[in-house]
């Protein structure tokens, strides 16, 4: 399972980077989204994957009895997802406005502020 997830993470990174290298701003944004998904999945895999056991230490015990997944990475991912949701929502509005103002979504045309 870990290996399948690791391959997925790699695939997401590859796809994300490929998309970011395209000239269209929309594709750049999709690439960024894929990149953040890849990072989230990476953290998820890092937490160890175990099916269907609750990560709660029973009363009177000091450590879990059965093998369980670490819940902390999942909490981290939740936070990261919320943040990337907000950031991507903003970025969508940004590229929409840019398209309205500049009339293009081609990154090669957006060179006026470059040096």
């Amino acid at each position: 399972m870990d290996i399948a997830l690791a391959i997925t993470v790699g695939g997401l990174y590859a796809a994300g980077i490929y998309m970011m290298m395209r000239r269209s701003v929309v594709k750049l944004l999709i690439g960024l989204g894929l990149l953040s998904h890849a990072a989230n999945l990476l953290i998820f895999t890092a937490g160890g994957i175990v099916r269907g056991r609750v990560p709660v230490v029973p009363n009177g015990q000091s450590q879990p009895i059965t093998e369980i997944a670490d819940p902390l990475p999942q909490a981290l991912i939740l936070t990261a997802i919320v943040i990337s949701f907000a950031v991507l929502a903003f970025a969508l509005v940004l590229i929409y406005r840019t398209y309205q103002t500049l009339g293009t979504d081609d990154l090669d045309q957006l060179k006026a502020t470059d040096t």
Partner: protein, 540 residues
Amino acid sequence: MNPSIAVILPIAIPLATMAISLLAWKSIAAQKWLGLAGSVLLFFSAAALMWLVDRDEILVLQVGRWPAPFGITLVADRLSSIMVMLAGVVLFAVTLYSLATIDDRRVDYGFFPLIHLLLMGVCGAFLTGDLFNLYVWFEVMLIASFVLLTLGGERGQLEGAIKYVALNLISSAAFLAAIGVIYAATGTLNMADLAVKLRSFPDEGIVTVLAMLFVIAFGTKAAVFPLFFWLPASYHTPPVAVSAIFAGLLTKVGVYSLIRAFTLLFVTDLAFTHNLLLLIAGLTMVTGVLGAMAQSEIRRILSFHIVSQIGYMLMGLALFTPLALAGSVFYIIHHIVVKTNLFLIGGIAERRFGSGRLSEIGGLQRSMPVLAILFFLSAMSLAGIPPLSGFFAKLTLVRGGLETERYAIIIAALVVSLMTLFSMTKIWAEAFWKPAPQEARASLPARHDSRRGRIALFAPIVLLVTITVGIGVLAGPVMKVSYAAAEQLLDPDAYIDAVLPDRLAAEGDLDRQGKLNEQIPTNRNPSTLNGPPTSLRDED
């Protein structure tokens, strides 16, 4: 009252200011006054924090009474308190300046709440003692800066923002991946706990890989070579007040994080990591200043100089001696004040002519002699002319380099210094000495300010110039503060002991945790699992 309350105030005050000014959205005057009041309060809380840290060395706040490494820890050591103090100074100066320059439309879109959101992120990043929490503060800061950058929606702003947003999101993704890998490797994200665990980490190669991931993540935020391209593409596009606060604070959060990571966490493979940092520092200095020399617009020149000066700050970190690190801290103090100020001064020149292109402006020495003096002092300080603040910062760094016999970087630093002087002279000659151009070619109309407006424009600049000159005159005491901060940074044990007071007791069960790790192979983090003690909750 517990002194650790002071640690939360620099985060709580901007939050409260933001919340209250959101409630007072309808009144533009109220927002302006609230913004000013919030900045004054932040300044005083930062001063209090600095005083307390000077007395108690390190202040630690375990949020919600969850002991480290399980909960979120806020830590204020000398470096953090200096950074928060500088943030307070910059916020106050920029707020004053924005009273006169930010138009009502932008205030109506939420300029002041956003500035305070930005400051909350900046102060949070300076004060946190937890890596994931640092990520969250980075994002708070980034979201605020995205909106501030695009506020107003002019063509250049949108275009610059796309580059800024894209590159910063990539660095956030790298940061997140680094957090995931470091958690998988060590099972903790608390910086003090990480420092302990990374020291005895069996596989040195993985630690170095992690260090490189953090170089990419923090390096992009700090705008080091070759990750700086977002900065000169975007910093000259928003209103001057926004540029100035970005120039003063944002990249320095990246530098601060680099300093924190490479004094506390990644100190096992100095020969590789810190030599790489030294190389990056040299290249950053040189490329930044070369970029600046090719520019002909005030704010673009200044943006490239930010990049070049990030190199100096890294130089001290890379040399890794108390003296060199003190030089870095001194340089940060000097740079934040001077850089913010130069952007504000450049803003006045732009305002006078409606353009920042050097070919379209001129004659400021005659028409605004006060401004000329103020610019001259700041620019000479940036270039490092004695007896101004930049001279002592560079002198300390060079002495640090001589101490460790790294002559190449010293030569680079001195040459870059000369080129900075050249570039400042260019602005001086074009904007101040050259007679004003005859026909108005500027794209924007020139503006003339009322008397009250002029006070709001000049007061922050006079304040910052006074601080610059003050740092030069009182170089001894400032140096003492920087040196104390550097010594504290190079002694991570004090930091660790402050955050994890019962570390010695915990060290005993490290072996026990090792055994647990063998029993439960997929569970990489036994320490958090038996961690959040349920008994804690019952006490409440």
